[in-house]
């Protein structure tokens, strides 16, 4: 697996003052890492769904196979949520999230920079609020011993994973707000999958 990972690319935060640079680089590294975690979750959910299909098929011929893995759909949905949230931070860094750029493209540079700072900061504030609320949400599931209806799985665990994914997105918005304020590059297209041809 490690050999698949490309060598960490040169930092785009070189122009930042030292302490900030360390923070920004760390968030970038996290962003790359959680993109891979999101990918792992995506593959895992594919395998889980395939296992469910295979089990149901095989149980027709081999009676010792259970007709269904009752956790398949439920756990697939947790993996999907994890994949979505973990991937979100990397997606932001590579410029993969969609926005209306009409105004941004047609205003003078200082206004554009102000808008970039504002939108990244708004993203940071909203995600920080959502993440802190998610912490309370998952903590509530934990203290109340909440179980899923489908399989009696403690819900706090998948909820904590998703919360962590949201925290990473929050950090990425913070990094972007700082980068916009310092005039550093906002998006790192080298992380993106290479285009074909």
């Amino acid at each position: 697996m490690v050999s698949v990972l490309p060598a960490p690319p040169e930092s785009l935060n070189a122009a930042a003052p030292a302490p900030l640079r360390i923070l920004l680089d760390a968030i970038d590294r996290l962003g790359r890492l959680d993109g891979w975690i999101g990918g792992g979750c995506l593959l895992a959910l594919t395998l889980l769904m395939l296992a469910e299909v295979a089990t149901r098929l095989l149980s027709n011929f081999l009676p010792f196979f259970p007709p269904s893995m009752s956790i398949a759909w439920e756990y697939s949905s947790y993996l999907m949520a994890a994949s979505f949230t973990f991937g979100a931070a990397m997606t932001l860094r590579v410029g993969g999230h969609i926005r209306v750029v009409l105004l941004l493209k047609n205003v003078p540079a200082p206004v554009r920079r102000a808008l970039e700072i504002l939108s990244a900061f708004a993203g940071f504030v909203f995600m920080a609020f959502l993440t802190s609320a998610m912490v309370k949400f998952a903590w509530g599931s934990f203290t109340r011993g909440q179980l899923s209806t489908a399989s009696d799985t403690p819900l706090w665990f998948p909820q904590a994973v998703v919360t962590f994914g949201m925290l990473l997105l929050t950090l990425q918005f913070l990094a972007r707000a700082i980068q916009a304020a310092l005039g550093l590059p906002l998006e790192d297209h080298r992380m993106k999958a290479s285009p074909v041809e």
Binding site: R56, S59, P63, P66, P67, S68, S70, W73, R144, Q146, L147, S148, T149, A150, S151, D152, L155
Partner: protein, 306 residues
């Protein structure tokens, strides 16, 4: 005081539970002279799923909800008591069971910052199958769609092959043969137009479940004492009618399934005895898992002499 309350339910507009809720809302609005205004928001449009309704009302996310008791077992295991196989085999027995469990339901509700206004059961449960079977052996390994873990345990005990998939996937799965049966009420059978896929209905009557319309206690306390009395009185007065609606929905739905071409296959005594014998251990297992259920369930069993 005047109150504008949303009532969240996952059931669609045409469902009899939603009809009941709307009738209740109308009566409340009329008799409080518009002081308490309930809007039924059906089909899950407020964004809450079934198993979250107890929590949603508790946290004040919505003042009222139609809560399906057996879906709340992840928060409150006691709420699964009606789903013990064959604990009650008719609506009359269920009424007696409710006499003993209702006080516990009320405690659960209070613990969750809410008050139960009224409770209405789902009609009796059936096995809807593609094939005709004579005995319990015929059920062996038939792939049947079930909604939750409790049903998985029960039908596993019977020897069937329960498959837990979302309702939306069930219809295509029935059409293609990925599953060959569904365990649910006749009402849901009509919702799914089961006659398009299956031929036989087995009145096994294996489990029950009930919808509870509950109100958040903070919202409740905002009403005047008179209003509280009025609303609670309306709920109590209408509840028997709502139970009658449930019975009627069962009869109507069964007729529609038959019109569609399905056949009700009487379950022989031998087959019923087999099924009940196989699922019997689930009663003790439940009482062991949920000690609070022990006393009311045993008192109920004593009253019906079982």
């Amino acid at each position: 005081a005047t109150a504008s309350w949303d009532l969240s339910t996952v059931w669609p507009d045409g469902n009899f539970h939603t009809h009941n809720a709307k009738a209740f809302a109308d009566a409340v609005k009329k008799q409080t002279d518009g002081g308490v205004n309930i809007t039924v928001k059906a089909g899950g449009q407020l964004g809450f799923k079934g198993p979250e309704h107890l929590r949603a009302v508790r946290d004040g996310l919505v003042p009222l909800a139609d809560v399906l008791n057996i879906q709340q077992v992840g928060d409150e295991p006691f709420m699964g008591v009606e789903s013990i196989p064959f604990l009650a085999v008719s609506m009359d027995e269920l009424k007696i069971l409710h006499k003993y469990v209702r006080p516990e339901y009320d405690k659960v509700a209070e613990r969750n910052n809410q008050k139960i206004l009224y409770i209405v059961p789902w009609p009796t449960q059936y096995l809807h199958l593609k094939v005709k079977v004579a005995g319990v052996e015929g059920l062996k390994n038939i792939k049947i769609r079930v909604p939750d873990k409790n049903a998985v345990d029960m039908l596993n005990a019977v020897g069937m092959a329960p498959v837990m998939i979302p309702w939306g996937e069930t219809i295509p799965a029935l059409a293609s043969g990925a599953v060959a049966g569904v365990s649910t009420s006749a009402v849901s059978g009509v919702d799914g137009k089961f006659w398009e896929f299956m031929k036989y209905i087995y009145p096994t009557n294996h489990v029950w479940s009930s919808q509870m319309v509950t109100v958040n206690l903070d919202s409740w306390k905002a009403l005047s004492a008179d209003q509280q009395k009025l609303v609670a009185g309306i709920a109590a007065k209408m509840e028997p009618d709502f139970w009658a609606n449930s019975l009627k929905a069962d009869v109507d739905s069964l007729n529609r399934l038959k019109e569609g071409g399905m056949e009700v296959v009487p379950v022989t005594d031998a087959m019923m005895t087999d099924i009940r014998a196989r699922t019997a251990p689930l009663l003790e297992a439940f009482l062991k898992r949920v000690p609070a259920a022990d006393k009311p369930v045993r008192a109920y069993l004593a009253e019906i002499k079982r």
